[in-house]
Symmetry: C2
Subunit: 266 residues, 2 copies
């Protein structure tokens, strides 16, 4: 049984608390928040505190607070040489105070406030300085059903950055699609199966192989028609940039007519 002290009261901390509570290989000894009120609802299930000097012993301390607060919080911990991890994709491992055994336990997933999280769909990227620390964090990830991945700092940064593209930016494209359909009185809902299938497709195929559409086959007529029908200058800029990007990837800046029939859809 791996014992944990949770530090922080946000989304990640709350989802981790619930997952650890359901696990029989990990348990939360204590939960710290600067504002006790934010975790008061859990006080029948776990010891809560707002006093760092009263932190209990544990195998792993998990700091799940906003990126900017991690470093300072770690320096205030009233002990040395214990395993302390943060959960951020973008904060360095060396931003944790050097008196500690340092690590990162980064769940690479988007969490919805209120909705339950199935950690079997949450890959956890683990970074440690010492190999023995890695093993305990790997066990901790497995204790909540997650797949764990050992990464170095560069890889974690790359994953965090790439996650912005596949999550935030992709979601913004959904938003633009919503604006486009709404402006013509069409239902955004009709696009939902396509959204799902687009995500499903790259579970098995590389995005390169999965690509279709007017930009890939350099279908100038359709591209022109689309640009003309976009009312928003901003939407046009996005359309042009991503069309250029696809052409760049697929070398179709000078497309041939024969390619057209092969890649017909969308």
């Amino acid at each position: 049984m791996i014992s944990v002290v949770l530090i922080g009261a946000g989304n990640v901390a709350t989802h981790l608390f619930k997952a650890f509570s359901l696990s029989n290989q990990a348990s939360v000894n204590q939960w710290y928040s600067r504002t006790l009120k934010s975790i008061e609802a859990y006080k029948t299930q776990v010891e809560i505190t707002d006093n760092l000097s009263q932190l209990k012993d544990a195998d792993v301390y998990i700091i799940a607070v906003s990126d900017d607060a991690i470093s300072e919080l770690s320096s205030k911990l009233p002990f040395e040489d214990r395993l302390v991890v943060h959960t951020s994709g973008s904060v360095g491992i060396y931003d944790l105070d050097k008196k500690l055994k340092r690590g990162v336990f980064y769940p690479l997933q988007t969490f919805t406030k209120g909705a339950d999280v199935d950690f079997s769909t949450v890959p956890i990227c683990i970074e440690t300085i010492k190999k023995t620390d890695y093993h305990i964090l790997k066990q901790l990830g497995q204790a909540i059903g997650s797949k764990t991945h050992r990464v170095n700092s560069d890889q974690r940064s790359a994953l965090h950055l790439a996650a912005v593209f596949v999550n935030n930016f992709t979601n913004q494209l959904y938003r633009v699609a919503h604006e486009i359909t709404e402006s013509k009185g069409a239902e955004f809902d009709i696009l939902k199966p396509l959204i799902l299938e687009t995500a499903n497709k790259v579970q098995d195929l590389s995005p390169y192989v999965a690509q279709t559409g007017p930009a890939k086959r350099n279908d100038k007529k359709t591209i022109k028609k689309h640009l003309k029908s976009l009312d928003s200058e901003h939407h046009r800029t996005i359309y042009e940039l991503l069309t250029t990007s696809i052409k760049k990837t697929h070398g179709t800046s000078t497309g041939s007519a024969t390619k057209r029939s092969i890649t017909k859809n969308n």
Copy 2:
């Protein structure tokens, strides 16, 4: 039982043929292709032809050829006043020859060559000039298990354009993410659950509500770090444009620190 003649040998025609073959409410009387060879594999299952003058009677003729070929093909059909539809998102209904009863039967989904299609996940957008033609096309869509949606030309154009954003452009963002992870020796596969969850999330929430991340919370420090770590000028341009787009949508051009903790993840 609705009888169909299929015209064309591409991806859409082939998937429709398979779906109609499985249905007990629709049947394919004949399949036409300019090049008989491309549908020869099906000749034991259906009558095939490469001669337009030999087309048989049917309730619906489905032209599933490349966009540029639709208009000319329709004008070559050796009959009048029969229901003829094309399957394109972007070609006008009036591009079909006016001697015909004209319609559009547009499956709004991405098809993978070779992979089977479950038409229950394929919304079909139907456009007709006459209401009676609409009803038969609706039945035809239902015969293969699809949900059908009546749309007008503007709505269909908007959906086709929006589909490019949620399918082709989204897939290109996956591709950029692949390039970013690969360049640092990180596994793209770790992003796959996030890709799926991002698509899942907007099945229930609007993209506006589903948004998270540094751009939404105007986290300048992370944005700056990301831009610095992007090696490709092209990737930086995409990052900047979509960050601006998210800020525009969420009015976070001048974000406040208090928003930060609420929207922590990614």
